[in-house]
């Protein structure tokens, strides 16, 4: 691994850690050592359902199918 790649890898790792701890709340972006590193923050269940505009009735139908 080249030196620049090693540095980038370490910064990305730190960014992921800070996202996990909730320091960086903006979507997928963390500022570590004055560098902007993009890391996709995992969505919550609510965000996934909202993004597709899935209605509560569709969620109920899905729950029924799971528990059948």
């Amino acid at each position: 691994m080249r030196k620049t790649n090693v540095v980038h890898h370490l910064i990305k790792k730190a960014a992921k850690r800070s996202l996990k701890r909730g320091f960086a709340r903006c979507q997928g972006t963390a500022f570590v050592r004055h560098r902007r590193v993009h890391v996709a923050r995992p969505s919550t269940a609510r965000e996934i359902l909202d993004s597709l505009g899935i209605s509560p009735s569709e969620v109920r139908a899905a729950l029924k199918a799971i528990d059948a």
Binding site: K16, A40, R41, G53, I54, L63, A65, A68
Partner: protein, 210 residues
């Protein structure tokens, strides 16, 4: 305006949305469900062309809008039997062109899937340099491909756990098809219910927070 549609208006790509460019046929159904299970287990939003209703604007426009709204697109190029399916390579070309020529799509990532090793160099030699993930038509391998390509590392779920979730999701898909009286899951309403079921299972398995 629904959040999914407001993305198109603003022109910003959702960093967790993944556009699925896959064949919609019966044999592919277990793999399609495996892709949805794997994506929701890592907190990604599976998007596909099925979810927007056709209002006379044409399928191609909907595909372009979807690719633009997602930061990642997943293209399965394994359907090369006779007659060949040209949809997937065509949509891959659209995604690549957007990434290359649209300023707003510069960060777009392309993930390629194939079922056979080294076949892509013969079937689509223009994509030389892009290594496809090989799923060998196995749902377990498909889950591994998604987690390998899009996972973030330490917090990702284990493949056997997601595979167990996929088995449960397959049962739910059968139940949903029976209730709707349909032969396959490739419809708007069933796709949405399938994503809802997969999201709920991901929460129950502890992969993502509610």
């Amino acid at each position: 305006m629904a959040p999914a549609l407001s993305r198109f208006a603003t022109g910003r790509a959702d960093p967790t949305a993944v556009f699925l460019n896959v064949p919609f046929d019966d044999q592919y159904e277990p793999l399609f469900i495996a892709l949805i299970a794997a994506l929701t287990s890592i907190g990604r939003k599976p998007w596909c062309v099925l979810e927007l209703p056709e209002h006379g604007q044409g399928r191609l426009i909907r595909i372009l809008d979807h690719i633009k709204a997602c930061q990642v697109s997943l293209h399965d190029l394994s359907r090369v039997s006779s007659p060949p399916r040209f949809n997937m390579p065509f949509e891959l070309g659209l995604a690549y062109a957007q990434k290359r020529y649209l300023r707003s799509a510069r960060k777009h990532s392309i993930v390629l899937l194939e079922s056979v090793c080294h076949r892509l160099t013969r079937t689509l030699s223009d994509m030389a340099g892009f290594d496809p993930a090989i799923h060998s038509n196995s749902p377990r391998r498909a889950i591994l491909c998604v987690l390998d390509s899009l996972g973030t590392g330490a917090t990702d779920p284990a493949v056997p756990d997601v595979y167990r979730m996929w088995k449960q999701l397959m049962k739910a898909a059968r139940q949903l098809k029976m209730t709707a009286g349909q032969d396959d899951i490739y419809s708007r309403s069933l796709f949405r219910k399938l994503v809802a079921a997969s999201t709920e299972l991901s929460v129950r398995y502890g992969f993502i927070p509610r």
